[in-house]
Every structure is written in C-alpha cells, then in structure tokens.
C-alpha cells in the first residue's frame, strides 16, 4: 500500500520547543523530521517494497519526491526542506489526491500521513474555513475528502492533545477524519515536546500501520516463514450478516495445486538465511517450471492462489493473489471444499498424459448467449426467425430436420408469449408456400408443409392436446420419406 507523507512546511513549524533540559534549541520542524526519519528507517528495513512519496505544503503544495522505494532520496529531501508561509490544508489535500490518482488510479488503497503542528491556518484557506464552507459548493470546488480512492488518513500532530484541545483544532481534525469515512487516526504527542515523545508517537504509528505481516506457508509438513507485502487488510463481507471484518489467518494452508486476479506479494526477508533450503523457493521453482498455480487457504472460506510472477526477464518471485472471501470464489472451480485429491477419482481426471482437465466446470444452466434463446422484442428478431423457417420450407425434403427444429423453436416461444396470432400467420405462410411449390418439387414437400401448417393452427387454438410446451411437431411419415408405413 503506497504512502504519501504530507509535511507541513509553514512558518509555524519553525516555532521553537521550549525545553529547559535540552541544550540545543529545537524547532517543531526538527521534531517532525526526526519522527519521519524514524518512519523511513523502519520502512527501509521492513517495507522495502512499499512506495512512498513526500509532499510539502504551506499555502501552496509541492511534490518533493514522487513515489519511490528509495528511502535515501526521501530522507535527503526531508533534510533539505525549506520553510514557507501559512498553512492551507485544503489545497494540499487536493494535491495528494492528484498525485495518487495520477500514479495509481482509483483502486489502489493508499495511506496518507499528514505531519503538522496543529496550527491549521487562519482566514480563507484555513481548515476551519474549509470545513465551514463544506456545503453548497459547486461540483468543481468540492472538498478533496473523501478521496476517490480507498485511503487511510493518519494525522501526526507535533503538539500534545491539551494544546490542540485549547482551540478547536482537535475538533476540526476529527471532522477531517469523518469526512474520510472515519478511516484513519489522529496521533498526538504525550507529555513534553521532545525527541523522545515524537519518537514514541511515530512508534505507535509504526506499530499500528507499518508492522510487517509475518505468516507461515504450509504444505502438509513442509513449511516456510513468509512475509506478505503489501499487508493484507481485513475485509468486511456483508455488514448485515457478518459485521465483523474478515482477517487473514497467519497460518496459510497450501491446499494443493489447482488451475488462474488481485495480486499480493510475498518475499522472505533475512538475507543471511540464503543458504538454508526454503520451501518457498522450492515451491516457486516448481510452479514456474510446471506452469502451475497452487491454491492457498487464508482462513475459513477464504482462498487465494500462489504462482510464479516474473516482472522482468530474469527476476521472478512467488506471488499470492487473494480471491474474494467465500466458499466459491471462482465459479469455474466450483466449491473449494469440494475439491478433492485426484487419487479419489476412479481414473485420473487430468488423463495419463495430462491431456485433459476436470476444469472449467460448466454451469448447470447455460447462459442465454450459450443457448439458442428466442427474443422477439425487436421486429427483426421475429422476422429472422420466420424467414429461417420459410427458407428451409423451400428446401424440403432435404432440410426436413432443420425446418422442424426452427418451426418448433418458434412454436415454443409463441406459446410461452401467448402469441397465438403468430402461429396462425406462419401457418398461412406455409400454406401459401405449399401452393407456390414448383412442379418439379418433391411430393414430400407438399405433405410436410400442409402437415406443419395444420399442427400450428391446432396449437394456436390453445387446445391443451396440441399446445403443450414440451411437445414438438414431428415430421410426417410419408411413403416418400422411406418410413414404409404411412401415417397420417
């Protein structure tokens, strides 16, 4: 999950921290930088794969470092931060919104870490002013929160709670969180403002938001400790039936390889252990060579898959994609709980030479586009169907089968739609075709046409004997059709 650090660079950040025991004079800005340094160091060590960007703001905003995994650059930019004028949070939040949307689109969950001293400006452009004028804004001047992407907002105040509560700052910040859908948290410093307390505040942020996600990947008795990047977040399924969020269990169960979206990534840390055989590497190697994926169970009725993902030509890694929680995440696999070992099957469903596969499962009822449905909403649909019958009628007796197939399809639909007038109409058309038959026509054609017309007319009376839906009009047995016994 990418992070945007939104750093207050207004003049108020340069206010000195009054501290008796401290020898050198510290500004609030120095404390903020110390806190962020700690965060960056933590991420460089534990979250190497996460992207972070740095935005500084006062009355204007500036993207100092675009999203990067290079924490040195971030650190450098932070130490070269200059001081500017007053605080104007609204435009800065717009800036964050733009930066994130341009980079990641709207689906990528993002964390925004706002670092400020809690003096949120005065007059126009101040947070207070922004919040007061929330309502009645035109479409193009909407407040940037909530962000158009899923976002968590963490507000790091270089101030203690008492200080913030003296004014309406705390209240305004809380309102800000609410605007973001309540996703996020406000952190304040405890006790005196000093290096120690700022570190303890950022420590709390790290514990809550940036703690690594260790897990165990298990395949029977083979197991490997893994770390998952980005950290999977709890999911709300159906707030009504299941109001508790679904968490991923840290014991990941590899159910077994199956057959093919939302990727999560997985890598193992701790480089000294490079020479100790690791199950992940084995699994990755074999999945890559065999071109297979492994099904992985993350919790009760929550599954995902593991596969080898190659970004460049040489590098590849084990990826985990999470499916939507539920017993049947991919319809073409069926219920995961109903997937059993192939040894249970009487004969190998993949074939002895891997030429077959039991997947994909077909749905019990075909979708409308996979069956020959009849829709006459547009006149053209009806015309096509009638013309098809007439075309085949002219090629009797060669096209007897198709003729009756199309005729029965039309008959079924007309009966279901209560469209008896059509049955009569088509009967008349068939009778007319009969009279138009050339002299050279096969004698069977006339018999079949008048038979079909008669049956349609009978059906159009609604008489249950002739108008049953599941009944079909069958070709008439004639002496010509070779059936022998002629039946009228």
């Amino acid at each position: 999950m990418p992070t945007v650090v939104l750093m207050d660079a207004s003049l108020s950040m340069t206010r000195p921290v009054s501290l008796e025991q401290c020898s050198e004079e510290l500004q609030r800005k120095n404390l903020a930088v110390a806190g962020l340094t700690m965060l960056f160091e933590h991420m460089a060590n534990n979250y190497r794969l996460e992207f972070t960007s740095l935005v500084a703001f006062s009355s204007l905003w500036e993207l100092l470092v675009p999203f990067t995994r290079d924490y040195n650059t971030l650190q450098e930019a932070l130490s070269n931060l200059e001081d500017y004028d007053k605080t104007c949070l609204e435009s800065a939040l717009h800036g964050v919104s733009n930066v994130v949307q341009q980079e990641w689109g709207h689906a990528c969950p993002t964390q925004v870490v706002l670092v400020t001293d809690g003096s949120l400006g005065i007059g126009k452009g101040s947070l207070r002013h922004s919040l007061q004028t929330l309502k009645g804004r035109p479409e193009d001047k909407k407040f940037p929160l909530p962000f158009p992407f899923p976002a968590k907002l963490f507000i790091m105040c270089i101030a203690n709670a008492e200080e913030l509560q003296m004014t309406d700052t705390m209240h305004n910040l809380e309102q800000l969180l609410q605007l973001n859908g309540g996703d996020g948290q406000i952190f304040t410093m405890e006790g005196q403002l000093c290096l120690k307390s700022v570190q303890s505040m950022f420590g709390r942020l790290i514990d809550e938001v940036y703690s690594p996600f260790p897990a165990v990947l298990r395949c029977g008795n083979l197991a490997s400790d893994v770390q998952v990047f980005p950290r999977p977040e709890p999911v709300f399924l159906d707030e009504e039936i299941d109001p508790m969020p679904r968490h991923i269990l840290t014991e990941v169960d590899d159910v077994g390889p199956g057959t093919t979206e939302e990727p999560e990534e997985e890598t193992s840390a701790n480089q000294q252990a490079g020479k100790v055989p690791n199950f992940c590497v084995l699994l990755h190697g074999s999945l890559k060579v065999e071109g297979m994926v492994a099904l992985v169970q993350l919790g009760p009725e929550w599954y995902g898959m593991l596969y080898s993902q190659a970004d460049s030509k040489k590098k590849s890694n084990l990826m985990m994609s999470l499916f939507e929680p539920g017993p049947e995440p991919l319809p073409w696999l069926g219920k995961v709980s109903q997937l059993g070992p192939i040894s249970d099957a009487a004969e190998n469903p993949y074939g002895e030479d891997d030429s077959k596969s039991p997947f994909p499962l077909q749905p019990k009822i075909k979708r409308s586009y996979a069956q020959n449905v009849t829709v006459w909403i547009k006149a053209s649909g009806l015309q096509t169907d009638v013309q098809k019958i007439l075309r085949n009628a002219r090629k009797l007796p060669e096209k007897t089968q198709t003729f009756y197939k199309e005729l029965n399809r039309l008959r079924k639909a007309a009966l279901a739609f209560g469209f008896w007038e059509l049955l009569k109409g088509v009967a008349e058309l068939l009778e007319r075709e009969c009279t138009l038959l050339p002299d050279t026509a096969h004698p069977d054609a006339a018999f079949q046409l008048s038979h079909a017309a008669k049956q349609l007319k009978l059906a159009s009376t609604g008489d249950s004997q002739y108008a049953a839906f599941d009944q079909n009009i069958n070709p008439m047995h004639t002496d010509f059709s070779g059936g022998g016994a002629a039946g009228m």
């Binding site: 029977g220 159910v255 109903q338 070992p341 058309l429």
Partner: protein
C-alpha cells in the same frame, strides 16, 4: 451489495385479465417478400402482439439478463393474476430459469377475452406476491441456520414488479393501499411462524402498459414512501419497444448494472465473405466494472453516449485485435459476468460465440489524446463470459525482488522436478456433492490436505539431502508408502523394492550419494548403503501408524537391511582397531551382507514359491534382535546344493540347519572359510580391496 437486500427476492406480478388480450397495436411484418418472388402475391397481414405478449416477453427479457449476470442468489417468483392468482415457480434455486418460466407461461396461455372482467383483477396477484415475499428462501434459511443466535440479522426484503393496465391514478393508489395492508397482515402471521419471515422493506414497481396510439390514463411517479415498509413508484409505458427499454433500464437500476458498448468489432459480411464491416455490441454487467470511470469522472471521456432518447447510458470501448498471451490477467482486478442486450442479433452472437470458443478480446478506452489504454478484457471461463477489469495504471507490485535474493535463494539443488511431480500427484479435482460421502468421511478438501500431510511426512527439499529419492530403484516403494491404505499387491511391490535394494547392495552397485561438502571420494560404499537404509527406514517409519501393511513394509526393511544398529556401532569401533583386525572384520562384514541377501532371497522365495532357488534357510535365527555371532557363516553349501531346486524348505532341512548353526557357534571359524564360496576362498583379498576393486565379486558367484 448486501446479500439480503431488496434484490434478493423479486416477485413479478403480470396481469392476465381480459383487457390484457387487447392488441398493443404495434405491428410486425413477418412476411418479407423478396423482389424475385412474390410478384402479384398478397403479403400476409402484419401480426401484432397483445399487451399480454408484450408484458411477458419484456419480463422474460428482464429475467434473462438477471440470470445471466446473477446465476445464483437473486431469485424471481413469477405470478400471473386473473380471477385468481397462478404462481408459476418458487424461490428455489432450481426453479430459477427462463425455460421453466416459459414452460409455465405456455400452460397459462394468453388471457381469455371472454372472461368476466368483474371477477378478474391484478389484486389477487399482488396479495399472492406479498405472501410469497414472506416465504423464506433457501439462502435465508441457510444463513439463519449458520448464524444461530444472531439469526435476526438475516433480513427479509423484496421487490414486487407489477405489469398491468391500470384504469386511473386512483386505481393505482388502491393497488398500493392493498399491498400495504397485505404486508401488515402477513407480517402479523409471519411473526408466529418458523417458515415465514416478516417483510422489513418492500419496493413496489408498478408498470402501467397501454396500447400504442392511446393516451395514458395513469401518470408517472418517482419512488415515494407509502410507509416505513413500503415504497412505490409508477411507470406509465407504451407497449412494445418502449416497455422493453423501460424494463431494461429497471433491471439495470435494480441490480446495479451498467452498460458497455463494444465498438469496431470486425465481422465478416454474410453476403460478401471477403469483406468485413465494423459492428457494435452492447453488454450489461455489474457497474463495478466501470468503477475506475465513475471515480475519475472519465465517463464522458470514455465515450459515454446516450441512446434511445437519452434514457440510457453506455460506455464505449474499442475492440482490440485479439492477442494470445494472457499475461494481462495478472493485473486483473475483477471479473464480472455479462449479458448481451440484444442476445440473438448477429453481431452479438458472433461476439459471444467467438468468446465461448476460448478466445479473448482486449478492450481499449478511446481517449482524445490518442494514447492507447487497455482497460478491460472479455474472456470466457467454463461457458460463462466475464468482463475483466485490467489495471491500466502503475502497479504497486512492479519490480519485485527476485526470489533468489531471499531465504534459501542461494541453494541450487532443490528437487524442482520431483516437487513438480509431487504437485501433479496432488492436483485437485471437483468431487460431486453427495449426501452419502458427507456422512461417511471428511469433505474432499480435507482429504486433499490429509494427502498433502501424508505425502510430505518425509520430503527432503534438496538433492544433496537425500539418497533414496535419487534412486530409481526406490520409486515404487516411495510412491506407494504415502498411500492411506496399501493393498496386498502394493505390499508385495514394496517388498520387491526392498529385495531389489538388497540385491543392489550385494552386487555393490554404486549409490547416488552426494559428495557435496565431503572431501575425497565421499563415504565408503557400505557406509553409503547404511545411509540409504537409514533414510528408507525414516521414510517408512513416518507411515507405520497408517496400517498393518505399512508396518509390514518396515518389518521387511528391518529384516533385510544389512545390519542392526548395534552391529553398525561395532563395525565403526572395529575400524579404529589395528590393521590386521580391520581386515578380518571387513571380511566378516562382507559375509554378513552376503547373508542378508540370502535372507531376502528366502523371503522372496516364500512369496514367490518355487520361483527362486533357495538354500540358506538357516537364517531363520537371524532376526534383527538376536545378537550376531562373530563367526556366523555356516558352511552348508554342500548340504544345501541338492535341495536348491526343490523350492520351499522342508522342516528337516530347517532343523538340520539350526543344529549346524548351533554347532558352528561353538568354535571359531577359519577366516578363509568364512569368506569362502562353495568352500573355495580367495587369497590376498585385501590387495584387491586396497586397490579399490570390487571385493564382492565372489559373492556373486554363489548364485
């Protein structure tokens, strides 16, 4: 969407009263005469659909789209109303198909214009619909059963879509009041019942249908709240294509659908097969597939156009010539079922057939700037077509580190091929659900996990950690031992594998022992075999608890392997002794190996009676538990020889052997005789040994 939202249950109430038999006055020419034919012929009078036919076909279209996009959990109850109500299907999932409904509708037939209009009313159907909404669906039942104590979280909401021809606005109000009253009544009844649920929320959608060319007597009205339980809206629509459009919009609103038009589809012309024209096909799907457009406000930029007089919005995406590689799937963020709006038009069926045949189509977002952005993909899985959303922005997963940079990444001799084989053996297959299997054992997925557990009890990950898995000879046993149960035949195969190994050891075949990490030639051959046997024992031991036959495989190994552990220890100690002694020791070792081979031959003989010549039955006392005498080589060859061809050992022979063995223990045997074959001993063996030649050559000769 909540599982039990208003969309979970939809009751269709279609008016079947005599006035519905009236013509819609929309005429369809179905007799299209071509120029060449039909000169001087009177074409057939155009047919026109009745109001009933219009209502039925449009409602079926609503159902078709719904079932395509939501094959499960969105249920329809179809009710027809005249002098009484007719319920055409139930909430049960297996009743949910257009075929079922069409069949039932055919049985109902069109309204009878002769019926007394006084006793006919759509009210019967509306009352039945409310009653039906109180009935619990299988999904509600299941959710209530699983939630137990919190079963009250399962909500009961529903929607009634009523297709009728109302007389006036007052008539409409009367219908609304009636529904409201019935809900209150039914809720009271439901409160005291287990199989009924009271209605918490009901949406009434009244669609007034009137013939073309007439003025409507009923006015449109947006959704309003009749009570806390009931909302109602009125749509007044002309029969025919207006009604079809209206229901198409309603199904989109009711089920959060959105429309995408695929444009620039190249299609062969029917008449001129070598040319192709470009066509458009409109698809409906869940609106989340457009999330990116909604959020970015790109909707209009993405080519959103309004059709059918501004009633409908669709996003236009451009067909890209299909590609074969499916790498794009990796950045897929969602897949949504589709339903074509115009299912049996030629462009639609061409597209759907193309996709059902296994091809994929990438879709491009037309942008003014001219840059090409692929945002979606159409592809089918198991007979269903899905619209896949592809991530068109930067991915946070880019440039992942290579796995070789992590733990175990520097190890080079993983058993990749073996694990591939392991994975293929542990592949999954769908097991049909049946009540019997559930009662008898674990669910299939649990069985699959149990199999993984068994298969991995002993599974060294790298080649240099294992001997047995590098030996072709062990494969039959290794494949069988992991099974849950062994057949008699399996047991036999395992035992044969063991004998085969004994045979190899006797022949002193080289073993694929890894020399990695050890200097020089690696362990001596007898040491190699010791390692191999130990490993085989480890493998089999992890499975002995499985069944008695698994135990017998282990017994066989223990009986057959060259030395019981104490002997090994002694041997090790022996090595440290003086040179002379060492040599003597060696010859004994060799001899005992010889003997174990003989024992295995004996066992083999017992299994395959008469097949193998057998003589050394004296080894009966040679159980792994009995202490091994230093001078245990019996000299029985001469005695045994005549019997060799006779197959099974007689009791007398066994007894004689026993006595002979007992006697032989009483004195120290000559070293030469111990190592002799057919009473002939080879001299200066140690020279050979030291030269690294096969010292077991003479062992072979006994055969």
């Amino acid at each position: 969407m909540k599982m039990f939202s208003v969309s979970h249950k939809t009751a269709f109430v279609v008016d079947h009263c005599p006035y519905m038999a009236e013509s819609s006055r929309q005429q369809v020419e179905c007799d299209v005469l071509t120029k060449s034919r039909g000169q001087g012929m009177i074409p057939l009078a155009p047919v026109s659909k009745s109001l009933w036919t219009c209502a039925v076909e449009c409602s079926m279209e609503y159902c078709r789209i719904l079932y395509d996009v939501y094959p499960l959990k969105k249920l329809i109850n179809y009710i027809v109303s005249d002098s009484e109500f007719h319920i055409l299907n139930s909430w049960r999932q297996e009743d949910q198909s257009t075929h079922e409904l069409m069949s039932a509708l055919a049985a109902v037939g069109p309204p009878n214009p002769q019926e007394d209009p006084e006793c006919c009313s759509v009210l019967h159907g509306l009352v039945a619909a409310v009653e039906s909404l109180c009935k619990i669906t299988e999904y509600q039942h299941e959710a209530r059963t699983t939630l137990m104590d919190t079963a009250d979280r399962v909500a009961n909401r529903g929607r009634i879509i009523c297709l009728t021809n109302a007389k006036s606005d007052t008539h409409v109000r009367m219908l609304e009041d009636c529904v409201q009253e019935t809900i209150l009544e039914q809720n009271k009844m439901a409160a005291g019942s287990d199989r009924l649920m009271s209605i918490q929320q009901c949406e009434l959608v009244l669609v007034h249908i009137f013939p073309q060319g007439e003025d409507t007597l009923v006015s449109d009205r947006p959704k309003k709240e009749v009570s806390s339980l009931l909302t109602s809206e009125v749509h007044s629509v002309r029969a025919g294509r207006h009604l079809a459009t209206k229901l198409n919009i309603l199904v989109q609103q009711h089920f959060d659908l959105a429309s995408t038009t695929i444009t620039n589809i190249p299609m062969k012309e029917e008449q001129h097969a070598n040319t192709s024209a470009n066509y458009d096909v409109e698809l409906l799907h869940h609106r989340d597939a457009h999330l990116e457009f909604f959020k970015s406000g790109d909707l209009h930029m993405a080519g959103s156009t309004s059709r059918d007089s501004g009633l409908k919005e669709t996003v236009t995406l451009k067909w890209c010539t299909p590609r074969t590689n499916s790498v794009e799937l990796h950045y897929c963020t969602g897949a949504y079922r589709i339903s074509p709006t115009d299912v049996n038009s030629r462009p639609s069926s061409c597209l759907t057939n193309f996709l059902l045949n296994g091809r994929s189509v990438l879709l491009e977002q037309p942008r003014k700037s001219g840059s090409k952005v692929i945002s979606h993909m159409l592809s089918s899985h198991g007979g269903e077509i899905f619209l896949h959303v592809l991530n068109s922005t930067r991915s946070t997963l880019e440039d992942p580190p290579s796995i070789s940079e992590g733990c175990g990444g520097r190890v080079t001799d993983y058993r990749i091929t073996d694990f591939g084989e392991f994975m293929r053996e542990n592949r999954l297959t769908p097991v049909p659900e049946s009540p019997d299997t559930e009662a008898s054992g674990k669910p299939p997925a649990e069985r699959a996990k149990a199999q993984l557990e068994r298969y991995t009890r002993y599974w060294p990950m790298i080649i240099s950690q294992t001997t047995i898995f590098n030996m072709q000879a062990v494969v039959p046993l290794a494949n069988l031992i992991v099974k849950e149960s062994l057949s008699e035949e399996d047991l036999l195969t395992c035992q044969k594998t063991v004998y085969n190994l004994v045979d190899m050891e006797r022949k002193n075949d080289p073993l694929p022992i890894s020399t990695v990490g050890s200097r020089g030639k690696g362990p001596k051959r007898d040491e190699q075999y010791r390692i191999m046997w130990n490993e085989l024992e480890t493998l089999v031991k992890t499975h002995v608890a499985g069944s008695e036959r698994h135990q017998r495989v282990l017994d066989c190994i223990i009986a057959c392997r060259s030395k019981p552990p104490e002997e090994e220890e002694r041997k090790k100690r022996g090595r440290k002794r003086e040179d002379k002694e060492d040599k003597a020791e060696k010859s004994i070792n060799k001899d005992s190996e010889d003997k174990s081979w003989q024992e295995s031959e004996r066992l083999k003989g017992a299994l395959e009676r008469g097949k193998e010549e057998q003589g050394e039955s004296e080894v009966i006392k040679d159980s792994p538990d009995s202490p091994e005498p230093l001078n245990k080589k019996p000299r029985l060859d001469e005695i045994q020889l005549p019997e060799k061809a006779k197959g099974p050992v007689s009791l007398l022979t066994m007894w004689t052997n026993r006595i002979t063995v007992a006697n032989s223990r009483k004195h120290q045997e000559f070293a030469g005789r111990i190592s002799s074959v057919n009473n002939k001993a080879e001299l200066y063996q140690h020279l050979k040994d030291e030269n690294g030649m096969d010292l077991h050559e003479n062992g072979k000769a006994t055969r």
